[in-house]
Symmetry: C2
């Protein structure tokens, strides 16, 4: 066997470049050549690791949802043991919001992919169960309201993310709205 390279590492490197391009110029600027240039590699290499552009897109889509999972896990771990349900929820949701820095870029890419998958139902079908799972988890953390209240909280989070990206809400406003919602849901 010839040279040994970590396939998955290369693919991640390329996916990173893809996200950079998508965050700065939108998904429609994502082409094999642009991504290759952003990654500092040749276009041929991109083709070597992704036989087709769609393959590359799917990989990047998975990579970005993995990234946010990691972020949530890190934020939760930093809480220590046995946080209150309210604090746990707030921490998780805040970790998912595109408040600043790299999370904002990730948010832009996620938004682009959202629109991308809106016309390709096959790609979005994959993340449907994960949403349902999250709703279930949130419901188990709430003192009352059940799945309906949980779905509302999740939708509020998504909307806050959208308005943060659009610049309609400042990070402070978004967090205020989140805390106010938690006040409503956890009111004694």
């Amino acid at each position: 066997m010839p040279k040994k390279v970590d396939h998955d590492e290369r693919r991640r490197l390329i996916a990173d470049a893809l996200m950079k391009v998508a965050a700065e110029q939108g998904l429609e600027a994502v082409s094999l050549r642009h991504v290759a240039q952003a990654a500092g590699v040749s276009a041929g290499m991109v083709q070597h690791y992704f036989h087709t552009k769609d393959e590359m897109m799917v990989f990047a889509l998975a990579a970005i949802s993995e990234r946010s999972e990691v972020r949530v896990r890190a934020a939760v771990d930093a809480l220590g043991a046995d946080p209150t349900p309210r604090l746990l929820l707030r921490t998780m949701i805040a970790a998912l919001l595109p408040l600043e820095g790299p999370t904002r870029e990730d948010g832009r890419v996620a938004l682009a992919f959202l629109a991308y998958t809106a016309v390709r139902p096959a790609a979005s079908a994959e993340l449907r169960p994960s949403t349902a799972q999250f709703v279930e988890f949130i419901a188990s953390m709430l003192p009352r309201g059940g799945a309906v209240a949980a779905a509302g909280l999740l939708a509020l989070m998504e909307g806050l993310g959208l308005y943060l990206l659009g610049g309609q809400y400042t990070p402070a406003q978004a967090l205020d709205a989140l805390d106010a919602q938690l006040d409503l849901l956890f009111a004694t």
Copy 2:
């Protein structure tokens, strides 16, 4: 002067075709030729009414926000005189949600444009004040909570729209979540 045609009517016809293409195949499938074909006209005619593609995009963007305004107005007018604040809000928000039929297609287009403008700050700056205005109006309808609660409700609406488009929520679930939120905000 030669032939007389209604310029704005033609532009609207073309914009309708653009939205149809965008709703079915995404914004990146929107090209002069595709739009022209969808509208049943020649590509040259599209060029005649929009000197550049960007001009066409901007027009379509304005057209779609005008459409939703019309929809909201119609729904509110059907309420008759002096509805309760809660019913008024519910009606307006429900009219904006992509629950079914043509509103779903419009929602998909709006989502595509959202991602489109996310990397073109100039285009989104225009609709920022209208969001602020809406928040203000919602706040005036709420018994308490002020702008923060209003911002939360608006974000919840936006999130519901997103999940409706993605298929994660059914229309019934979305309306349940909306009503539950109104219960919280209007609780005595």
